[in-house]
């Protein structure tokens, strides 16, 4: 599939690297010649240096024959304009990054329709939503939602004294009456798609699906249940914190925002009258302690510096804050943060890449069973995919235990008429179901691809 990407900054480069590894033909456009040189040296893509809203440049990039056009440059206006041009020149689908809050209200729909955008993507909003989900259920390290929230996949880490240490998955089902399904286990750098005899160890990062009521029961029985965060402190006053604060305030939580820049503080306090906006340096421990760090439910560090976020989150968790989350955009630092004991890390960049990747996968296969949602799990070593089952699929009507499923693949959930089924061997897949599949080390494009 031919894909044109305009703007190769942090987000653009991540998307580009993900999409190239999927084997797409990619043309990258950026106004910075150095960026283009570097990218074409590392990836097998064609680079064009120029303005992404210049029709000559777009023509040179062959936009007319492109299936997907993605504009993720720094400027919203440029993105929208180049998407508009690309669409008029014949690109089949266009996606623009639009992150200015002023464009992200009701006007967004009007713009999308009139510019014929297939999707407007707002990385900061995506990140804020993810953060909000985690804060609602702080026992988890990560929550992925499928089928508009009908099914949730929770990732959490087994503590050093976990009751599950040394337990096989069969015993887990017997001992805890809660119906949960362990989908994947990450131990060190390895990822396992476990079967019944798999033995859990403390320190494992496990992903599981369950109905939300069952989940609460399960975590309570383990004794690690944490209530929804009601008292949250946010460091940094960027766009993510603005969106997150709005959501938290709406849900009735109390929010404190610490921001260095006076002017940003002013705009924040205008936009969020209910929040407590503090002007100060979040790196000063005095300030944090003065503002009641110990009494917090959650501490979220969202400054522009990855390193600062990591260090302050570690400081906060040492001060016995029950839940700390850091925004870390650089992949190298994510692993480092994990090694330092910081589990919960979000990145707007990676979320955006996930969304675009699933969009590209779905486009590629518009006939078979579509990919509806895609999440990269465990450092990209595994994927969780949601498929809509078409009536002619080969997996329909056969009990799961009789399906010849490939190694490293697990069916994590079935959503039928908005009801979630956590599957066991006797369940069957029906037409029009939504099926969530976990796959290690492979790029699934079609539901039938799970069969041997």
């Amino acid at each position: 599939m031919k894909i044109v990407i305009v703007g190769c900054g942090k987000i653009g480069a991540t998307i580009l690297s993900n999409l190239t590894s999927e084997g797409h033909n990619i043309v990258a456009i950026d106004s910075d010649a150095e960026v283009i040189t570097e990218l074409t040296n590392v990836y097998d893509v064609m680079g064009i240096c120029g303005n992404g809203a210049d029709s000559d440049i777009l023509d040179e990039a062959g936009v007319g024959s492109a299936e997907l056009f993605i504009a993720v440059s720094n400027s919203d206006e440029l993105n929208m304009l180049s998407c508009f041009l690309a669409r008029k020149m014949g690109a089949k689908h266009t996606i623009a990054r639009v992150r200015n809050p002023e464009y992200n209200d009701k006007s967004l729909r009007f713009m999308k329709e009139n510019l014929e955008l297939s999707m407007a993507i707002n990385p900061e909003l995506l990140a804020a939503k993810e953060l909000f989900n985690i804060l609602k259920f702080p026992s988890a390290v990560k929550i992925e939602k499928f089928s508009r929230g009908n099914l949730e996949m929770i990732e959490f880490r087994l503590g050093s004294d976990s009751a599950l240490d040394g337990m096989t998955l069969i015993d887990l089902r017997k001992n805890h009456r809660a119906k949960v399904l362990v989908c994947y286990v990450r131990r060190g750098d390895e990822v396992f798609i476990p079967n019944g005899t798999f033995i859990l160890k403390s320190g494992d990062l496990i992903g599981l699906t369950a109905k939300s009521t069952e989940l609460q029961k399960f975590f309570k029985s383990l004794g690690v249940y944490k209530k929804q965060a009601k008292n949250v402190m946010i460091l940094g006053g960027g766009k993510v914190s603005l969106y997150l604060s709005e959501m938290l305030l709406e849900a009735g939580s109390s929010v404190k925002i610490i921001e260095k820049n006076k002017e940003v503080c002013n705009t924040l306090s205008e936009a969020l009258p209910k929040a407590v906006v503090l002007n100060g340096d979040g790196a000063e421990h005095e300030l944090l302690l003065e503002e009641g760090l110990e009494s917090l439910d959650a501490f979220v560090s969202l400054t522009g510096m990855d390193e600062e976020n990591i260090l302050l989150s570690i400081f906060a968790s040492n001060q016995k804050v029950p839940k700390t989350i850091a925004k870390v955009d650089r992949d190298e630092l994510v692993n480092l943060a994990e090694r330092l004991g910081l589990d919960c890390v979000v990145s707007a960049k990676r979320m955006t890449a996930n969304v675009l990747l699933s969009y590209a996968r779905a486009l590629e296969n518009s006939l078979g069973s579509n990919v509806e949602t895609l999440y990269k799990l465990a450092d990209g070593k595994a994927e969780a995919l949601e498929f809509n089952v078409k009536p002619d699929s080969k997996v329909i009507g056969i009990p799961l235990k009789e399906l010849a499923i490939k190694k490293g693949i697990l069916i994590a959930g079935i959503i039928r008429d908005r009801k979630t089924v956590i599957p066991s061997g006797d369940d069957v897949i029906k037409a029009h179901d939504n099926v969530v599949v976990i796959a290690a080390d492979q790029g699934l494009r079609d539901l039938d691809g799970i069969l041997r």
């Binding site: 033909n25 010649a33 074409t40 040296n41 590392v42 990836y43 097998d44 064609m46």
Partner: protein, 484 residues
């Protein structure tokens, strides 16, 4: 330096060479010649050495960075020539290995300089192999490999850059592999069309094929002592046109195929190239008629011979229809200058390349302007795009190193006590991958009289010229091989 991937690539190239050597073997069998045995033996050796190299280096990561790209290309070309020389040596057609190596390097680098005093000693199989090396070397073997095998690393663009001639190597389509495929398809199509056209001119299939190989790769190994002089004027014109076509950037053909005719025609390099050719032909025609009178019977014959020789030399092919050693001094000098210029970037031609020349002229103009207006800010533009300062700078160092290498070779070869014309033009002809020079190495002469050390040095010169100096030079430097 990741030595494993370098040797692995070399191994793969040798295996491909083994397969390619089977073609002349078949030809030899058809003509019932004894050389079939020698060719087959060489194929076997190439495949075995290749397999051993690949087996020894099968493990390890497959990352290719710039230096691995350079080294893979340089070593592949050297090894390929070393083994490609075996058929000539084993069959006894060329008794000295040095000479056989020279002949093969001359083939792969599309030079066309021969050490054979009498070409008729070669069997059909060997003749085929000799011309086939032109075809293989013209577009590049590693580019060929890229077209066949899925790339294991996104960085394989480094290999393409090292092997494709020209200051800036651009891709036609996003993927290196697809780009390589397209280039080869265009190349094959041109070869086939030319073969058919030559056969219309009553040339035999074998002769047509060999001349098409020599022309498409802009090589210039002939099959007769008088090169193409003995063929009909029609055939000579066909060869002239195709030599001209093969000296044009192949990217332009792709643009035409996908219907972007206008952007292809806009290429300033193309127009500059055609202008130089046209002006040179006119100059030579006038010069010959004025000095020698009606030496070629008619004006049309004079034009034909002038056009043929000018195009042949400019595209660094090296075929000839007449002995231009007999031409007046001005025409000979003009040809010598054309040898330096060469064809367009991204073509199969050698030389400095027209685009480099244009860039150089523009840079000089910019610097002159700066002398007059010291505060002026100027950028160099080429094909409608601003050329980065880095490219301009590297251009300067390319000219410098080109001159240094050239003069070193000149000194070395001058030990052979030929006259200055012969020595100078021999080095020019080899370094720019032209083939024939002036004086003793003119169209009717050959390189057999040169000493052993000169032959080795000229072989190296041909490789340096074909790969545009840096890959070979960097591979010879110890710091490239140092551990990281």
């Amino acid at each position: 330096m990741n030595k494993k991937i370098v040797f692995y690539t070399v191994g793969r190239i040798l295996q491909i060479e083994g397969i390619l050597l089977l073609l002349p073997t078949v030809v030899s069998l058809i003509y019932r010649e004894k050389t079939a045995l020698h060719l087959f033996l060489s194929a076997l050796i190439a495949a075995t050495v290749g397999a051993i190299l690949m087996f020894l280096n099968r493990k390890g990561d497959r990352k290719i960075f710039a230096r691995e790209g350079f080294a893979s290309v340089a070593l592949s070309w050297i090894m390929m020539s070393a083994i490609g020389a075996l058929p000539f040596y084993l069959s006894g057609a060329i008794p000295s290995y040095t000479s056989a190596f020279f002949e093969t390097v001359s083939g792969f680098t599309t030079t066309g300089a021969s050490i054979l005093p009498d070409i008729t000693v070669l069997s059909h199989g060997l003749l085929f192999w000799r011309s086939f090396t032109h075809w293989v070397g013209g577009m590049g073997v590693l580019v060929f490999i890229m077209a066949i095998f899925p790339s294991e690393s996104g960085r394989s663009v480094h290999i393409m850059r090292a092997e494709m001639p020209g200051p800036i190597v651009g891709k036609l389509v996003p993927k290196v592999r697809e780009t390589a495929k397209i280039l080869y398809l265009i190349y094959i199509a041109m070869t086939v069309i030319m073969t058919v056209l030559l056969m219309f001119g009553k040339m035999s299939l074998f002769d047509s094929l060999l001349h098409a190989f020599g022309t498409a790769g802009t090589g210039g190994f002939g099959m007769r002592p008088d090169s193409v002089g003995g063929y009909s004027p029609y055939c000579q014109w066909v060869i002239t046109v195709f030599m001209l076509l093969c000296g044009i950037n192949f990217n332009l053909y792709y643009l035409i195929i996908i219907g972007r005719f206008r952007s292809a025609v806009k290429s300033s390099e193309l127009w500059c190239y055609l202008a130089i050719v046209a002006a040179s032909i006119i100059a030579v025609v006038i010069n010959i008629t004025a000095t020698l009178g009606n030496v070629y019977d008619s004006l049309s014959a004079t034009i034909r011979h002038s056009a043929f020789q000018v195009v042949s030399v400019m595209t660094t092919t090296g075929f000839s229809t007449v002995d231009f050693n007999l031409w007046p001094e001005f025409s000979k000098t003009l040809l010598l200058v054309l040898m330096f210029i060469g064809g367009c970037a991204g073509s199969t031609a050698g030389g400095l390349k027209v685009s480099r020349l244009i860039l150089m002229v523009k840079t000089v103009r910019r610097d002159l302007k700066r002398l007059i207006h010291p505060r002026s800010v100027n950028t160099v533009k080429f094909e409608g795009k601003t050329v980065e300062n880095e490219t301009v700078e590297s251009l300067g160092s390319y000219f410098m190193i080109y001159a240094v290498v050239f003069f070193v070779m000149l000194m070395v070869v001058s030990f052979d006590r030929f006259n200055l014309t012969t020595t100078f033009s021999a080095v020019v002809a080899c370094f720019n991958n032209v083939g024939p020079g002036l004086g003793g190495v003119g169209p009717l002469g050959n390189f057999s009289e040169f000493s052993v050390h000169s032959k080795w040095f000229l072989s190296l010169g041909m490789l340096l010229g074909r790969l545009e100096i840096f890959p070979i030079l960097l591979t010879l430097s110890p710091s490239t091989w140092a551990k990281k």
